[in-house]
C-alpha cells in the first residue's frame, strides 16, 4: 500500500517535510517498500492516513535511497516509524526499551491511531517524551 503515501527522495526533502508542518505531527516510516515488515506497516499507515490527516501527516523514506539518516536515527530495523512535531523528534515510551521509534510492524489500526493521538497531544503540550497507551514490552506477548 506504499503507493498511497508520499515518498521522500532526499535528505533535504525529509528535512523540509519536517520543517514545513507547523500544526501537524510528521510521521515518517523509514524502510523499504518491498520489505515484508514495511508492507504490513504501510498497510496500516495508508489506511489511517485519511483518518488522521487533521493532526498528522505520513511520509515514507527508502533508507537505501536516502541513507543520510541511517546513522543518526539508527535505522537498522526493517521498519522504523518516527514522529516529529515542529522540528522536534518526539519520543514515545512503548515499553520496549527504545523510546525513539516504533521498530516493528504495528498491525492494529486503532492502536496506531491511539499512539499518534497520544504523541500529538503530548507534543502540543511541549512534551518531548510521551507514554504509549499500551505497553509493547515482550513480556506481554507471551
Amino acid at each position: 500500500m506504499s503507493y498511497l503515501l508520499p515518498h521522500l527522495h532526499s535528505g533535504w526533502a525529509v528535512d523540509q517535510s519536517i520543517l514545513a508542518e507547523e500544526e501537524r505531527l510528521v510521521v515518517i516510516r523509514f524502510g523499504h517498500d518491498w520489505d515484508e515488515t514495511c508492507m504490513q506497516m504501510d498497510e496500516v499507515l495508508a489506511s489511517v492516513a485519511e483518518t488522521i490527516k487533521n493532526f498528522a501527516v505520513i511520509y515514507l523514506v527508502d533508507i537505501t535511497e536516502v541513507p543520510d539518516f541511517n546513522t543518526m536515527y539508527e535505522l537498522y530495523d526493517p521498519s522504523t516509524v518516527m514522529f516529529f512535531f515542529r522540528n522536534k523528534h518526539i519520543m514515545i515510551d512503548l515499553g520496549t526499551g527504545n523510546n525513539n521509534k516504533i521498530n516493528w510492524a504495528l498491525k492494529d489500526k486503532q492502536e496506531f491511531i491511539d499512539i499518534i493521538e497520544t504523541v500529538y497531544r503530548g507534543a502540543r503540550k511541549g512534551r518531548g517524551l510521551v507514554i504509549a497507551p499500551k505497553d509493547y514490552s515482550t513480556k506481554y506477548r507471551y
Binding site: L8, V14, D15
Partner: protein, 1029 residues
C-alpha cells in the same frame, strides 16, 4: 501616475502627482495598495539625488515627492526590511519539497538542526564522529547570505546600539534572533542584484549614522574609561608614593625586613582524616541487637495469651530507645482508652501481647508459605473429604502465626470430615484452652468409639476426678479398650483400682497385664483365685505361671513358717508342663530372660525354679555342657549372678564330675560370691572330684589368703591323701610353709618329696631354701645331686654358677656355666651369664667371642644380640654397637626388645621416626610400646605418655620393669590416686619377669618381700641408674 514595485514582484500604479503630493500622503496610498505598514517605509534617496538632505519622518508632511526626485511615471520600489521573518517568506506550495531539487552540499538533518541518538551501543554511535566542526563549516558554506536581514559582519567597530546587537548574532551565525537555530531556512533565498543594491544603501546609511555621532560617542566612552580607572586604581599606582621612598632605605633596613612565611593554603598540612565505611558485619550485629524475637511459643499461647510474658522480654529492651518507644506506646494506648465514648477501644494488654506475637519473616518464607497455602487450598477444595489436607492447611496457618485462620481451617475440616479422629485431635490442639473441651466434646459425640479422643478429653481435664469421670464415660462407649482401662486404673486409688480391675478383666479377659495388675493388688488368697481364673482365660500365657510362682515366693518370705520354695518349683514345673500340653513352644531364651527379670525384682527362688525347669529344654545331649557354660557366662556378663549361679548349680547336678564346670562355678563365687559360699562350693567340688588338684589348691589358697594357715595346711594334707603323688601339692605345701617362715617344715617336706622321686623343680626349690638359709655347702650338695639326676635342667646350672660367682669363685662359676652349656646349648640365660662373667674376668673380647658362638648356636636370639650391643655400649664402642644393631634387626626384625633398644640408642631427633618404624614392624609389642611411652614422657606429653604406659602394662602385665617405669612416671607427673592405682594393678598382676625386676626380686635379701616393696626398689634402682648415666 507613479508605479510602485512591491516585494512580491508585482507592480502597482498609483495615480498621484509627484509635484503636489507629500510624502506622508504617498505613504498612506502605498499602504492602502500594498499592505506594507506606513512606519516601515523608508526612503533610499541618495542614489538619485545625493545632495538632498535626509528627510526625517517628522517633516514628511511638508516634503513633496518631487523633492525626492520622483517624477511622473517613475517607479518606486518598496523593499521590505527583513526585521521580522515571517512576512518575508515567499509562500511556496506546501509539498513543494517533494519535487524540488535539494541544494548542493546539503547535509541531511543539519539544515533543521536535528540531532541523533545512541541507544544501541553494541552497534556503535549514531552520530558521525567528526560531527560538530563539519557542521559549522558546511553551514557557512551553504548559506553565504544567511538572509538579508543579517547585517554585514565587517566594520563592526564603534557602531551604534543597533549595530552592536546585530554584531552579536553575526559572531554566532547559527543563532538568529527570530529563527533560533533555524538559519538554514532561508539559506535557499537567492542573492540577486537588488539585494546587493539594498545592502549598499544600508551600508551607506550605517556609515553616515556612524559618522554623525562619532565624536560625541567617543568622548563619552573616554569619559567612562576615566571614571572606571578612577574607581579601580591599579596596585602599582596605589603604592607608587611609598615605593618612591624606598631609595632612602639603608642596607641594614633591607636586611631587617622580615621574611614572609609560607601561609599558602596549599602548603598547609592536612589533618589526618580518613573515612572508612562501616563494615557490614558491624551493621548486621547492630541490627541483631535491636531485633526482638516476636514469635510466641505455644506454651504461652496455651496460657491464653492474656498477659504479657515478661520473662520473654529481651534484655535489650532496657535501652533508652526501648523505654522511649514504650512511653510513646503507652501514651497512644492511653489516648485510645480515653476515647470520646468513654469506653476502651483497644485492650492495652491484649495489644501488647499482639505486638509480642508478631513474627518477622523473610520474603522467601512468606513466599513458601503462600505457595503451601495455595496448594492445600486446592487440595481441600478438590478433595474436601480428605482429613490430612485440612490438617496440613491448618498447620501452615499455625506456622505462619495466624492461629485464627488455622482454627477456621480445622473447623471447616471438622465439618467436612466429622468421622475422622485426627481432625478432631488437631482441632483440639489448635483450639483455645477454654474451647478445647467443647471441641473434644463435639468430637466424642460424633465418634464415640474413638479411644484417642477419649484419652485426649481426659488429658484436657485438670483434676483427677474429672479425668476419671471422662474415662469412665469413655468406657461406657468402648468397654473393651485396654488403654482406657489402664488410664482409669492409673488414676484410681488402690481400692477403686481393684474394683475397676475386676470389671476390666471381665471386659477384656484376654489382656494379661490387667490380670497381673489385679493379682498384684489382691490378697494372697484372692490373687490365687484371680490367677486361676486368668489361667482359664489365657491358658497359653507363661507370665501367669511366673506371677503365680512369684506370689508363692513372696508369700513364703512373709510367712517364715511354711517355706514355699518347693511350692514355687512345683508351680513352675506344672506351668511348663501345662503350657507344653497346650502346645506352646517353650523358648529357652525367653524363659531365661524371664528368670533374669525375676532375679532383678528379687524373686530368687522363682528364678532358680525357672532355670531348673527350662535350662535343659531344647538342648541336645552332647551340647548341654557347652551351652550351659555359655549361658552362665552371658548371665554373668549381664550381671545376673543368681541366674548364673542357678545355671551352674543345675549343670553341676547333671555333670557332677566335670572339673571345668566346678572351676567356672568357683570362679563365679570368687568374683561375685562370699568367701563362705566359695568355700562351700570348693568343699563340695573336692568331694565329687577329688583328683582335681587345682580345686584343692584353690581351696588351700583361699584359706591361706583368709589367714587361716592351719586350715590351709589341713586342706593340703587332705589333698595329699587324695592325690598322693602330686608334685603341685607338694610344692604348694612347701610354699605355704616357706612363705610362713617355717623353713624347717619346708625342708622336711622337700626332703620327703625328693625321696618320693620329685622332679627338678623340687630340687631347685630345695636349693633355694638352702640358699635362703645360708647353708652354702648344703646348697652346693643339693645342686650337684640334682644335676646328676637332671643334667639338662638349666636353672640348676645357673644356680650353681651364681653360687660360685657369689663367692668369687669365678673359675668354678665358668666351669659350671660351660658344663651347663654342654648339656643345654640352647639355653640363652646360660650364655648370657657366661658372657657377663667373661666380660668381668677377661674383658670384652672374650665376651664378644662367646656371644658370637651363642648367636651361631641360637639364631634369632634377640637377647643375645642385645647383650652383645650392650657390651659394646658399655665399652663406648658406639659405632660397633650401631653396626651390631642393624645386623640384629636384620636377623630378628620382629623383636620388640631390639627395636626398643634401637629407639633408645638413636639420637633424639631421630627417635620419633625410629619409633614409627618399630611400630610398623611389631605393633603390639610391649617393649616398643614402653619405648614410645618413654619418648612422650621425655617430651612432657603427660596424657599421651600415660595412655601408652597403660597400653604397655595391659599388653605385657607380667613384666615388672614396665610397672616400675609406669610408677616412676606417676611419681613425677601423677597424683596420689594415680600412683595407688598403678601399685594396686601391679600387685594384682604379680609381675615376675623383666631384667631389672628379676635382678631385684630374685636377690636373696628381697626373697619374701611383697610386690609393692619390690616395685619401689626397682624404681629406686632405675633412678639410680639414670643418675649415674
Amino acid at each position: 501616475m507613479v508605479f510602485l514595485s512591491i516585494p512580491n514582484g508585482k507592480t502597482l500604479s498609483i495615480d498621484v502627482n509627484p509635484n503636489s503630493t507629500t510624502i506622508s500622503a504617498f505613504e498612506q496610498l502605498a499602504h492602502q495598495r500594498s499592505d506594507v505598514p506606513q512606519s516601515f517605509l523608508r526612503y533610499s534617496l541618495r542614489m538619485r539625488n545625493p545632495s538632498r538632505v535626509f528627510v526625517d519622518s517628522k517633516d514628511s508632511d511638508s516634503i513633496l515627492l518631487s523633492d525626492l526626485g520622483v517624477s511622473r511615471f517613475s517607479t518606486v520600489i518598496i523593499h521590505v526590511l527583513l526585521l521580522g521573518g515571517m512576512q518575508a517568506a515567499p509562500p511556496k506550495p506546501r509539498l513543494d519539497f517533494l519535487n524540488s531539487k535539494p541544494p548542493s552540499n546539503y547535509v541531511a538533518g543539519l539544515g533543521r538542526g536535528a540531532t541523533g541518538f545512541t541507544t544501541r551501543s553494541d552497534i556503535g554511535p549514531a552520530r558521525a564522529a567528526p560531527d560538530l566542526p563539519d557542521r559549522s563549516a558546511l553551514a557557512t558554506a551553504a548559506a553565504p547570505g544567511v538572509g538579508r536581514g543579517a547585517g554585514k559582519p565587517s566594520e563592526a567597530e564603534a557602531e551604534d546600539d543597533e549595530e552592536a546587537e546585530e554584531k552579536r548574532y553575526d559572531e554566532n551565525q547559527t543563532f538568529d534572533e527570530f529563527e533560533g537555530n533555524d538559519v538554514g531556512l532561508f539559506a535557499n533565498a537567492e542573492y540577486d542584484e537588488d539585494d546587493k543594491e539594498a545592502d549598499a544603501i544600508w551600508e551607506s546609511i550605517d556609515q553616515r549614522m556612524d559618522s554623525r555621532r562619532k565624536d560625541r560617542r567617543e568622548a563619552k566612552l573616554k569619559e567612562e574609561i576615566e571614571k572606571y580607572r578612577a574607581s579601580n586604581p591599579k596596585i602599582t599606582e596605589q603604592f607608587a608614593d611609598l615605593k618612591r621612598k624606598l631609595h632612602t632605605l639603608s642596607a641594614d633596613e633591607w636586611d631587617s625586613i622580615p621574611e614572609i612565611g609560607d601561609y599558602s593554603l596549599r602548603n598547609k598540612k592536612k589533618k589526618f582524616e580518613s573515612f572508612v565505611p562501616i563494615p557490614d558485619t558491624l551493621l548486621e550485629k547492630a541490627k541483631k541487637e535491636k531485633e526482638l524475637v516476636m514469635a510466641l511459643d505455644p506454651k504461652s499461647r496455651a496460657a491464653g495469651g492474656s498477659e504479657t510474658p515478661w520473662g520473654q522480654t529481651p534484655v535489650t529492651d532496657l535501652t533508652a530507645v526501648g523505654e522511649g518507644r514504650g512511653t510513646v506506646l503507652s501514651l497512644k494506648l492511653d489516648n485510645l482508652s480515653d476515647s470520646v465514648s468513654g469506653q476502651t477501644v483497644v485492650d492495652p494488654k491484649g495489644y501488647l501481647t499482639d505486638l509480642k506475637s508478631m513474627k518477622r519473616t523473610t520474603d522467601e518464607e512468606i513466599y513458601d508459605r503462600n505457595r503451601a497455602r495455595l496448594l492445600y487450598k486446592s487440595l481441600t477444595q478438590s478433595n474436601p473429604k480428605n482429613p490430612n489436607g485440612w490438617i496440613a492447611a491448618a498447620r501452615v496457618e499455625e506456622v505462619d502465626g495466624k492461629i485464627k485462620a488455622a482454627r477456621f481451617q480445622i473447623q471447616r475440616g471438622c465439618e467436612e470430615c466429622p468421622k475422622n479422629e485426627d481432625v478432631w485431635l488437631e482441632a483440639c490442639r489448635l483450639a483455645n484452652p477454654e474451647d478445647a473441651k467443647g471441641v473434644i466434646a463435639k468430637g466424642v459425640k460424633l465418634i464415640p468409639n474413638s479411644v484417642k479422643l477419649w484419652l485426649e478429653a481426659a488429658k484436657l481435664e485438670h483434676d483427677v476426678e474429672n479425668k476419671s469421670r471422662v474415662l469412665r464415660k469413655g468406657l461406657e462407649h468402648i468397654p473393651d479398650s485396654v488403654r482406657l482401662w489402664k488410664a482409669v486404673v492409673e488414676l484410681a486409688n488402690e481400692e477403686d483400682a481393684r474394683i475397676l480391675l475386676h470389671r476390666a478383666v471381665e471386659c477384656c479377659p484376654l489382656h494379661l497385664e490387667l490380670w497381673v495388675a489385679l493379682a498384684r493388688l489382691e490378697t494372697y488368697a484372692e490373687s490365687k483365685k484371680v490367677l486361676n481364673k486368668a489361667r482359664e482365660k489365657l491358658p497359653k500365657e507363661p507370665a501367669i505361671w511366673i506371677t503365680a510362682a512369684k506370689l508363692e515366693e513372696a508369700n513364703g518370705k512373709l510367712d517364715e513358717a511354711n517355706d514355699n520354695t518347693a511350692m514355687v518349683g512345683k508351680i513352675i514345673d506344672r506351668g511348663i508342663k501345662t503350657l507344653q500340653r497346650e502346645g506352646v513352644v517353650i523358648d529357652r531364651e525367653n524363659w531365661m530372660s524371664e528368670a533374669e527379670a525375676c532375679e532383678r525384682v528379687g524373686s530368687v527362688a522363682t528364678c532358680q525354679a525357672i532355670i531348673k525347669n527350662t535350662i535343659g529344654i531344647g538342648v541336645e545331649e552332647e551340647d548341654r555342657k557347652r551351652t550351659w557354660v555359655a549361658d552362665a557366662d552371658e548371665c554373668k556378663k549381664r550381671g545376673s549372678i543368681e541366674t548364673a549361679r542357678a545355671i551352674y548349680a543345675h549343670a553341676l547336678s547333671v555333670f557332677l564330675t566335670k572339673k571345668s564346670i566346678w572351676l567356672k562355678a568357683a570362679q563365679l563365687e570368687k568374683s561375685h560370691g562370699s568367701r563362705e559360699s566359695l568355700d562351700a562350693l570348693l568343699r563340695k567340688a573336692v568331694t565329687y572330684v577329688p583328683q582335681a588338684e587345682v580345686l584343692w589348691l584353690m581351696g588351700a589358697k583361699e584359706k591361706w589368703l583368709a589367714g587361716d594357715v592351719p586350715a590351709a595346711r589341713a586342706i593340703l594334707q587332705e589333698a595329699y591323701a587324695a592325690i598322693p603323688n602330686s608334685e603341685e601339692i607338694w610344692l604348694a605345701a612347701f610354699k605355704l610353709e616357706f612363705e610362713n617362715k617355717e623353713p624347717e617344715r619346708a625342708r622336711m617336706l622337700l626332703a620327703k618329696a625328693r625321696e618320693r622321686g620329685g622332679t627338678e623343680r623340687v630340687w631347685m626349690k630345695s636349693a633355694i631354701v638352702e640358699r635362703e638359709l645360708g647353708n652354702v655347702e648344703e646348697e652346693r650338695r643339693l645342686l650337684n645331686e640334682g644335676l646328676k639326676q637332671f643334667p639338662t635342667f638349666f636353672k640348676l646350672w645357673l644356680m650353681l654358677g651364681q653360687l660360685e660367682e657369689r663367692f668369687k669363685h669365678l673359675e668354678q662359676a665358668r666351669k659350671a656355666y660351660d658344663t651347663g652349656l654342654k648339656h643345654c646349648p640352647h639355653c640363652i640365660p646360660l650364655w648370657l651369664s657366661l658372657a657377663d662373667l667373661e666380660e668381668k674376668v677377661n674383658g670384652l673380647n672374650k665376651a664378644r667371642a662367646i656371644l658370637t658362638t651363642a648367636r651361631k648356636k641360637n639364631p634369632g636370639g634377640a637377647e643375645l644380640w642385645l647383650a652383645a650391643i650392650r657390651a659394646e655400649l658399655r665399652h663406648d664402642n658406639k659405632r660397633e654397637a650401631e653396626h651390631l644393631m642393624s645386623k640384629a634387626l636384620q636377623d630378628c626384625p620382629k623383636s620388640g626388645i631390639l627395636w626398643a633398644a634401637d629407639i633408645e640408642m638413636a639420637p633424639r631427633p631421630r627417635r620419633k621416626t625410629k619409633s614409627i618404624d618399630a611400630m610398623k614392624k611389631c605393633d603390639r609389642d610391649p617393649h616398643v610400646t614402653i619405648a614410645v611411652a618413654k619418648l612422650f614422657w621425655q617430651d612432657k606429653k603427660v596424657e599421651k605418655a600415660r595412655a601408652w604406659f597403660e597400653r604397655a602394662v595391659t599388653v605385657g602385665p607380667d613384666i615388672g620393669d614396665f610397672w616400675a617405669l609406669f610408677y616412676k612416671f606417676e611419681l613425677q607427673h601423677g597424683s596420689d590416686e594415680d600412683r595407688k592405682e598403678v601399685v594396686a594393678k601391679c600387685v594384682a598382676c604379680e609381675p615376675k619377669h623383666g631384667e631389672k625386676w628379676q635382678a631385684i626380686s630374685k636377690a636373696v635379701e628381697n626373697a619374701h618381700q611383697p610386690i609393692e616393696v619390690i616395685l619401689k626398689r626397682v624404681v629406686n634402682a632405675l633412678s639410680k641408674e639414670e643418675n649415674s648415666a
